[in-house]
Amino acid sequence: MYSGILSSLPSTVATYDFLFNWYLFFGVGAAVVVISLLVFFMYRYRYRGESGPPPVHKTEGWKIVLVTVLISISVLTAAEYQTFASFGNIEMPSQCSAIPDPCVTIRLSAFQWGWNFTYPDGKFAVSTQNQPLTVPAGTIVIMNITSKDVFHSFGIPMLDVKEDAVPGKVNQLWFMASNTGFYTDAIRCFELCGVGHAFMLGNVSVIDAATWQTQFGGVKP
């Protein structure tokens, strides 16, 4: 991902990277082992001109089935455990229910073909006017996501967050950006939404939290 850019990983990225690397290790390991086994048997038992009937085979299938099932269940259960342990990435943070709310909430309305952001103080920014999504550094940001027209999917790949933007429904995602900076095309649409799908991009501007609060925060609830 973009871990080279960010000196300290945002929490969603750290969780994601750990989970991804876990799956990658076991996934690639499983593939290597199984394919190696297949290739070995292809080589070891290749036909070399033997004559006469092949040797009689006992039915051994159930042994391999049992071993396969047990190994599969073990590895997959461990994988599922890791996934469930990572659900903090997709649940809304519990601290956002506290008063005063330490998090900020920004409304997002997707449209063909851009993103309309509405900040707590009522200001809005539109991606098609080259206006970025501006968020405070080191602060949990909750996005309330909907669509004005068709099915879109709002993603910020560098933060490993994504949620569908569909008409008639409000979905949520959260992230916390660590480093201030301006990130071009950090927002992309991940669902085909018409001829402008490829250009449905947005910039992200991460600024100092105090400055953000002054410019966009409005009155804290």
């Binding site: 297949l38 396969t68 996934t83 099915f151 994504k162 992309r188 018409g194 799908h197």
Partner: protein, 790 residues
Amino acid sequence: MVSWLNRWLYTTNHKDVGMLYFFTSLYFGFVGAILALLMRVQLSVPNNNFLSAVYYNQALTMHGLIMIFWFLSPVALGLANYFVPLQIGADDLAFPRLNAMSYWLYLAGGVLAVLSFFVPGGTANAGWTTYQPLAVLTPGTGPTLAYLGMVLLAASVTLGSVNFLVSIIWLRAPGMTLSKLPMFTWFMLFTIIAMLFAFPTLIAAFVLASSDRILGTVFFTSTGIQPSILWDNLFWFFGHPEVYIVLLPGFGIIANILPSFTGRPLAAKNAILIATGLIVIPLSFGVWMHHMFLTGIPVALQGAFSVATIAISIPFDVITLSFIESLIRGRVKFATPMLFALGAIILFIIGGITGVFLSSPVLDRAFRGSYFVVAHFHYVMVGAAIFGIIAGIYYWLPRMTGKMYNERLGKVHFLISFVGFNILYFPMNLLVDMPRRIFTYQNVSDWATLNGIASVGAFIFAGAQILLAYNLLFTWYRGPIAPANPWGSPDLEWTSQAEGIAPAVESGATPPVGGWIGQLAAAPSPAAEAHGHYAHLSSRPIQISLGAMLFLIGAAFYPDILGLGLLGLGGIVVVYSFYGWARDDLRGRFQIPPEPEGDRWPFSAVPKMKLGMWVFLSSEVVLFGSFLGAYIFIRAASGIWPIAGSIHEVPLGTFNTLVLVTSGLTMFMSLQAIRNGDQRGSISWMAVTFVLGAVFMGVKVSEWTNLGATGFALTSANPGIGLAASAYYIIVGLHGAHVTAGLLMMVYLMKKSASGFYTKDSHEAIENFGLYWAFVDIVWCFVFPLFYLL
């Protein structure tokens, strides 16, 4: 002698129909491949202008639909048509004319899909998953034609499923017990069961979308009911079983041919069958929401679907490891079919691993909508499915043609295909940040390099298939005569003369050089021709399909005058064709030899037609279940529904309910009468049933007229009314269509009864119709409370 053209247009023979499916699907595969290459050219460099956005979106949409629906499943059905009857020792499928009609409906749907390219505005461009409301909002007639083509195709698949299911259960040769069933037939059985329960939902989804486009219903344009989520649920309930529908034939081929090339039995055969039939198929209907992790479903539900998804990988682990174990202490010969089978296994392992990643809702936050997903499903659906099918093509080519393909050419075909495939799709695994379905991209980090590599791989992989085409032609025109059983297989399609089971070829045919292979099925058989009619020919299947095609083309162009004309013409052709089919039956113009008593456990006591009706009705349950499920979703999501009882006349609906339920009783009386040998009584009770059914429809027409007059219209300015009207007219109309069809069937049955055809000992058709009519009754008992009382 029958002309070549008549033979192919009217054939109902399974080998002929198999050939028709096979070559038609290869054509569509070619079309799909061209569309893919156009996409890869456009994506090969950043900021390309080879295709504009709208053309790119059309290419990606129709590439997906054509490859999945008009190539992958039909090519498997072609092989299944040819070889399942041979493998089970049957003369043909259970319902030969239905089989021909399945093919012609498939082709008719394909014509609509291809036609959609050539109308103003071009074809569908909302993606093959047809996400809403984009799909109903894209303008033009092309998308409508494509979607109606999907309806015809899904009808074709559903009818084909009924036929194959009955055939495999009911037409097995004596001694062909389930334990002896070849693996390809087993896997086709599993595939067909999945089709039977998945495709009716697809029909429902595309009927709703098409009616939005044609009639102005508002299922997917009413924001208040979350139309995107409605579509997602309908589509993916079908769509995930579809993954296995596409995959399993290839796996069945692998399981079928491994023993021939290892010289030993398949390891853990029963475990493979249990894993597939009892775990994969049921679970495939329970994992669909893993395509919807990001739509805002509750986190707990995401967890549940994640577990279900991970669970379905365990049987595939068993299957894969069993395939691998089948090599142990074998004598592995690397003929071309075996190379493709082994290649399929390797590619499936890679695709399966990435599938496990996608089972995690957390990881899916990065992967959803990216090229990682594209790589995953192409490794599974192209790698395992297509390589498996190509293995089958090479394996059975000697049986279909009587000649051997060029082995060296086959090996080269495999090597280039395998290498090209991986050059094409592996880089996509690394494009985890790149959205799929974008027609162009700026020069972002490694995207240009990876896309360039993939595009080169695309041309290598596609180019390799020219070798397959060449090998097919080589075999046909210059292939050496094949041995009778080139692979030493014990299966019936190779050995039917070598064992005590009756040969699965036309009796009286002269065996060709090399044994019972190489001849295309004769049509008609000499015995039938001597009787002055063609036992294996019927013009009705193609007529019905042609009429349906014209009707739907007309529907797409409605309300243009051309559309209305075609609508009328198509309708007339369909009615005439069904009438002709009925008249053919009354005159005994289509005869097939009675099937010998075979191994039918566990359905030994159930007649063939009755089994067919039960299977068909089970697909109807899914169809109405899908429509009513969509209705319940809409009601639950909508906050502005008309108050119960404020639209429909409850007393009139109640009266109609009583009428229809009573007709169910009178139909039962009719059946009882014929069971007692009372022909006149049976006809009389059926006449009463007919009158009651007609009264039901008359009241309904009157009701609709009144509702229309009071403004209960699709285009109502009141959003709640528009949505309620959309649901009512489509769903209640569908039920009404079934009642009307039942009335027409009754006319046929009464006419046949009047000529003394049905007796105490032979009245199966009346019994079967009774099942259908009872079904129509039961559906109404759900429709009435849902629409009138709640």
